[in-house]
Amino acid sequence: MSPTTLHAALMILVPTAPLVVFLAISFAQLVSARALPEAVVGRSVLAATALGLVASVWLSVEVVRAPGHALVFDQGPWFAIGSYSFAGRLTVDGLSVVMLTLSSLLSLIGARFSITYIHRDPGFNRFFALIALFQAGLALVLEAGTVDLLFVGWELVGLTSTFLIAYFHGREAPLEAGLRAFVTYRICDIGLLAGAVFLHYYAHSSDAAGAWASGHAPMGAAALEPHAATFVALLFLLAAIGKSGAFPLGGWLPRAMEGPTPSSALFYGGLSVAAGAYLLLRVAPLFAESPVARWILAGVGVATFVHATIVGRVQTDAKSQLAYASATQTGLVFVWIALDLRWLAIVHLFGHISLRTYQLLRAPTLLHDMHRRHGALGGEHLHTGAHLERVIPERARARLYRLALSRFGVDALIDAWLVNPILALAGRAERLEQRFADHFVDRRSHADLAAQPELHDEDLA
């Protein structure tokens, strides 16, 4: 096998292996009444992940050996409409391999952790199928050579994230949290979709080579007009804000901890929320072109950082604390990207993801760890909150605490200004439509069936 075809095979393997496992598990669940045994499901996901890890490491070695060159698997234009062409292209460059290796490694650890952790839970197979799908989606995001392909992976990541937040569908809180994340994703993904469309419009393609990259990622430069770059960059920023839980749309992030611990660790400790930062790094050349977009990005980053760090300090439960810690660092990474410090952003992102995943996987052990720490300290009580007391005057402190505890009411604000008006509008529209439709439909019999969960005699006759 020539090196090029080997690379191509490996690049295809990384997202395909988990995807195949996902399809196999789901299909088996659909056709057979008996659930697949845990051992089969767990091991196949583990195997696919291990395969992905080996492939990623191999690809990284290749990228390191030939610096300055990206590995490209190009199926040529997938299809073209007029002068717009859609390429089927996978690209692996410095940025990809760093994230790809990390994500495979953490997925492997997370999957191994889950085999014992989720053991005997009725949703075991569902959990592992979703984890496999997530890996496929994330690998696609990381390897995508065009924004169109990236969008596909992006949606898979969002979808699995939603389902895993709502994993315990017997209770209400996880469902609400899942819905909130889902809606946030949906709104923000408009940004990515529109970004891709406008990229096609301005650059006639959405792949790296055509759109912006003259130079090796992450150090490329864009070739768009400044105003176009600003516009497209801001659309991508919207997508990144939703995925990363950045200010002001980060309300879903702490709520997302309703799922099982390992999925919380994989998604919100790092990998899934980092996808937002990854997108920004991918399109960093666009931001480099546009001072306006950079200012706005910096503003979002700083706001996320300040909000999350203050709110995180008053959280009293392990997972919320880590969710805000995660958001804090994501905010900083945004700032680095705005400052065009791309390598710093990559290193920071890498470190932040692996540290946060570690901490989240250790969250159930927190009480044990606290005892050890307390024992090592010999009972010495170390005061916390001292530097807040130095910085903030006493009167303002109480007010700040109160506001921090209610998370500065950001969600309430969004509800009041955005969600409620939209819902009200939708309600009015629905009533209007209903009145209109009533003219054509005999509502009586229809309403009877819908309104009462009665057992109908004719059902049983």
């Binding site: 053991h119 660092q329 993801i353 692996s354 159930p364 927190l366 209610s406």
Partner: protein, 1021 residues
């Protein structure tokens, strides 16, 4: 008034301490004054909880023989007697009440939900066959009905045909859809000849449906309606808005912030003034302005703050606002507090047990919690009222409620059950036709009367009876063969372990390995109650049974020779602790967090990967690293018997008389009066596990949910003191000079045994010690292997080392939510000499308390033992019982989304209330039943003890435990049942034997009945 209401409320709130000092207790402790089954009924009504195991599980047991058919009938008879019903009374010409009830036990005759009925009709087509009927009966019914239907069809009008085969609401055009034939006489007659079953079944089902429409409809569950209507309930019923959806997150956020023990970096300001005042002042300042109801709350709090009003005032004012009549206050406050049982319970628990918190923690009071709750309740209600244009709560109350109680559907309520009943009773179509409305109504009323709780009672009693018979048979057989064995010479070693059910197998394996070894069971605090501080601890911990406050303080110190090493270790540990502390908060903060991400983050995957992918080896490596970096000095427990008082106002150790006393009562209590082995091991126990917020629940219950090592160690020091021995000898028990006590701690998670003060063991004992250590080491491996069979993930192999590795791996695994199964499967407590149970395989289900009845004619020793073993055992057993029968109400649900909050408890995810009780992963293989306490003592001795110990009396007479008295001389067994002892026969079935425990449990994960372990080499043990 309000004080009293809150006092009442305390009894209905969970009484669980912070997780780090988790001690098992009866979940329904507050209802213990009622008889067991009555208390369960009350709990069902009050909390809407399940209180018996699922009936399907019981029926499964019935099918597998774990419930005996005849015993079930006997328990049914008892139930009928209890209820004062006549079992022989005929309800219909063809069934008595006894037959009907018995059928209701065996067959699911519950009213189906509408969706379920629809499914059964449409998808399963259960009304087109007589599947529930026994085949030969079905054939008879079909044959006789075929003839009558033929006759009927021959002369019926089309309307009559429709009525017969399509029921009261049928139409002609549905005939083909149902039976695949047109609604003509010829077609029906042809089908009757061809395949009559659908028509017969259909006709029977339609007859039931026609009958159902003539019946009054009973309500299915009258007790499910909550008695008290809180303002929220009223608003929810009238306006369809649930104010608790917004109120609870706010309230619980404040409560968590207030109680937090240092998880948050920024503690809540002003906590020292109490919950209410702190929240009042903080809320009065500011708040998110866009939330209208919080704006109202702020105004109320500001107004209260302006006149410095306290909690009581706020409660009174809120109650006035809602215009609650005085007699309803009690119930209302209870209902409101019960809405968030976790936090309300924690406030109340910490108020009553302030020592369970760090000394710097702020004061806690349930009244404060209640006041904040009521102010928020009022604010939310005011806002709701304003939105809906309502003046006041009474005005809303006066509005009529749109939602009326939904009546059951006649098909679900009556027709379905009649149809199933008719099949099980083997009725023919004519008999069903002959049933009149009164008879049918009476049948259904009877079925309603024999409700799920009553069936649960009967099932549980029958299940317990079968289990009891098995255990008593085994016990009986073993005991009588033990009588035949003569006392041997001096034992090689004696091991005293905790009475804990998890030590049963460990002791058994020691005895199997070394037939000359003897083991004893004594409560793991060994009669001591100390406030203990080890070298490596962060503070003092109380090692004492729940409810006992220690009056002695014991400190561990490095020996003088190692003082320098100790100091070095100490200071290194301090530095390490500070670094950990900095890292913990720093990594979660902003800029230091960035630094941590940049410097440590890039390598954080290395420890994570190692810990998750190779848990056991990485744990070992870490331990070795720890030993290298922090060498351990030799230490001693400092017992200053000079009567000095410590800074905490406790005695700095036991004085001489107390030492003698403790040693004497321990050996006397166990019946160890003579024949001391050269080495006597005192093994306390504890449990180390990761990924387990409930870690303390696996520690020693007799030591207040802590690791018990220090108590064993201290008692060994006393017992090795020649002066103490001399005084003990003067009291009548002579401990020879060539006996040495060695203390240790058994880790029940990874089965490690750590021995203390081995450097003090005289040289004469070194050979014996080496042999004993080897025995203990092998026994721990066997114990680990036996434990592994209960874990689904462990392979069922005969490889002992693999089993041990499996359990060791569990204890060191970050992702293992079941480090051990703890007390899961506990069911028995046996108080008597070990000779009666030695060699009996009890499957790790028995608390074993050593007791010698021959030297205790008055029952004084027994009283002491029972007073600890009874409540502790019952507490453990009942907590497991309730946590598994209703994992959501009484238990903590599945562990997977658990999230530690404030170091106090766990939440589900990041929202909601603290979860109390045991998580599902701890209880999942438990079989809920009451503890079977078998005591070698005469009934009159037991009754006399119960007369002196009110707690025991309550447990026994109210049936929270099952008590069996075994006559020490004759071996006659009497069971305490319905208020008196009744003779129980044993030996009805043969008891299996096996050459070794390992051979008996090999390749099985299931529960195993008791077996006698008879070694093949002549049965020395």
């Amino acid at each position: 008034m309000i004080g009293r209401a809150l006092e009442h409320a305390v009894h209905s709130l969970p009484d669980q301490a912070p997780l780090e000092m988790f001690v098992h207790h009866n979940t329904l402790h507050a209802l213990q004054e009622h008889a067991f089954h009555d208390a369960l009924q009350l709990a069902h009504q009050r909390f809407g909880a399940r209180v018996y195991r699922d009936e399907a599980a019981f029926r499964q047991d019935l099918a597998e023989g774990r419930i005996d058919r005849r015993e079930l009938e006997r328990e049914l008879e008892r139930e009928l007697r209890r209820e004062g019903l006549d079992g022989g009374e005929s309800l219909t010409p063809w069934s008595t009440r006894r037959e009907l009830y018995s059928l209701a036990l065996r067959v699911d005759l519950r009213v189906p939900t509408r969706a379920a009925l629809r499914w059964r009709v449409r998808e399963e087509r259960f009304d087109r066959s007589l599947a529930a009927m026994r085949p030969e009966q079905a054939a008879r019914t079909i044959a006789s009905s075929q003839a009558s239907l033929r006759e009927f069809t021959g002369c019926a009008t089309p309307v009559q045909l429709v009525g017969r085969f399509l029921g009261p609401t049928g139409t002609v055009d549905r005939m083909p859809e149902r039976y695949g034939i047109p609604a003509t006489r010829e077609a029906i007659l042809a089908l009757l000849d061809d395949d009559p079953e659908p028509l017969v079944a259909g006709a029977m089902w339609q007859a039931c449906r026609a009958l159902a429409r003539e019946l009054p409809l009973g309500s299915t569950s009258p007790s499910d309606q909550p008695q008290t209507q809180t303002p929220r309930d009223v608003a929810l019923a009238r306006l369809g808005v649930d104010i608790w959806n917004q109120l609870h997150p706010e309230l619980l956020r404040w409560a968590a912030a207030y109680l937090d023990e240092g998880l948050a970096y920024w503690p809540m300001p002003g906590r020292e003034r109490g919950f209410f005042v702190a929240v009042r002042d903080l809320c009065a300042q500011t708040g998110p302005r866009v939330v209208p109801w919080l704006g109202r709350a702020r105004r109320i709090f500001a107004e209260l703050a302006a006149r410095d009003a306290r909690a009581r005032e706020a409660i009174v004012e809120a109650l006035e606002y809602f215009a609650i009549p005085e007699h309803e206050i009690d119930a209302l406050l209870l209902a409101l507090l019960r809405a968030t049982p976790g936090f309300a319970g924690m406030f109340s628990r910490l108020e009553r047990h302030p020592h369970e918190r760090s000394p710097t923690a702020p004061p806690t009071s349930l009244e404060d919690f209640c006041a904040v709750r009521l102010v928020l309740e009022r604010a939310a209600f005011e806002q709701l009222a304003a939105d809906h244009g309502i003046d006041s709560f009474p005005a809303l109350l006066a509005r009529s409620s749109p939602a009326e109680a939904r009546r059951p559907h006649p098909d679900a309520y009556a027709a379905y059950r009649l149809f199933v009943l008719a099949q099980h009773l083997g009725l023919t179509l004519e008999q069903v036709d002959a049933l009149d409305a009164d008879q049918a109504a009476r049948l259904l009323r009877e079925l309603d009367g024999f409700d799920e709780l009553a069936r649960g009672r009967v099932f549980l009693e029958a299940f317990e009876r079968r289990y009891r018979a098995e255990i008593l048979d085994g016990f009986c057989a073993n005991r009588s063969s033990a009588r035949a064995r003569s006392t041997r010479g001096r034992p090689s070693i004696q091991v005293v372990a905790c009475i804990d059910d998890r030590e049963e197998s460990f002791r058994r394996h020691i005895e199997e390995l070394d037939p000359d070894a003897e083991t004893f069971g004594a409560a793991g605090s060994f009669g001591l109650a100390i406030d203990y501080r080890s070298c490596d601890a962060g503070g003092h911990i109380a090692l004492a049974p729940a409810g006992v406050r220690p009056s002695h303080e014991i400190v561990e110190r490095a020996v003088p020779a190692d003082a320098a090493l100790g100091d070095a270790r100490q200071s290194r540990r301090r530095r390490w602790g500070r670094a950990l502390h900095q890292f913990f908060f720093g990594s979660r903060s902003g800029l230091r967090g960035a630094l941590a991400s940049l410097v440590l983050g890039p390598v954080a995957w290395i420890p994570l990967g190692a810990r998750v992918l190779a848990p056991r080896s990485s744990m070992r490596a870490l331990d070795q690293l720890g030993t290298l970096a922090l060498p351990r000095p030799r230490t001693r427990l400092a017992n200053d018997d000079a009567g000095a008082t410590s800074a905490r106002g406790l005695a700095c150790g036991y004085d001489f008389d107390e030492q003698v006393d403790r040693v004497y009562s321990l050996v006397e209590g166990m019946g160890l009066r003579e024949r001391f082995a050269p080495l006597v091991f005192l093994l306390a126990h504890g449990s180390t596990s990761l990924n387990n917020p409930h870690e303390a629940a696996h520690d020693c219950g007799a030591c207040g949910g802590r690791r018990g090592g220090a108590t064993a160690r201290l008692l060994a020091i006393f017992a090795n003191d020649p002066k103490v021995r001399a005084e003990v000898a003067a009291r009548g028990i002579e401990i020879p000079d060539d006996t040495w006590f060695v203390a240790g701690e058994h880790d029940t998670a990874d089965d490690r045994v750590e021995l203390y003060d081995l450097d003090l063991v005289p040289a004469d004992f070194s050979d014996a010690l080496a042999r004993a250590v080897a025995t203990l080491d092998r026994a721990r491996a066997l114990n680990g292997h036996e434990r592994a069979r209960k874990f689904e993930m462990a392979a069922l192999s005969g490889d002992v080392e693999a089993g041990l590795r499996h359990v060791e791996g569990r204890a060191s695994h970050l992702g293992e939510p079941r480090p051990e199964y703890g007390h899961c499967t506990n069911a028995i407590c046996i108080i008597g000499p070990r000779s009666s149970t030695r060699g009996l395989f009890l499957d790790r289900r028995a608390f074993l308390v050593s007791y010698d009845p021959t030297s205790d004619p008055e029952g004084a020793v027994l009283e002491r033992l029972l007073a600890i073993a009874g409540p502790v055992g019952a507490g453990i057993n009942l907590e497991y019982y309730f946590s598994i029968v209703d994992p959501e109400v009484f238990g903590a649900g599945t562990k997977l989304p658990h999230n530690i909050c404030g170091y106090l408890g766990v939440l589900n995810g990041t929202s909601g209330d603290l979860r109390t009780g045991l998580p599902l992963q701890m209880t999942e293989i438990h079989e809920p039943m009451r503890l079977l306490v078998i005591v070698e003592a005469r009934p009159d001795t037991l009754l006399a003890i119960a007369g002196r110990q009110p707690i025991l009396a309550e447990l026994i007479t109210n049936g929270w435990i099952q008590l069996v008295s075994v006559d020490p001389d004759s071996g006659e067994m009497q069971v305490f049942e319905d208020g008196r002892f009744v003779t129980d026969t044993c030996g009805s079935s043969s008891v299996p034997t096996a050459p070794s425990s390992r051979a008996y449990y090999a390749r099985s994960r299931e529960f195993l009945p008791p077996a006698r372990i008879v070694p093949e080499d002549g049965g020395r043990s």
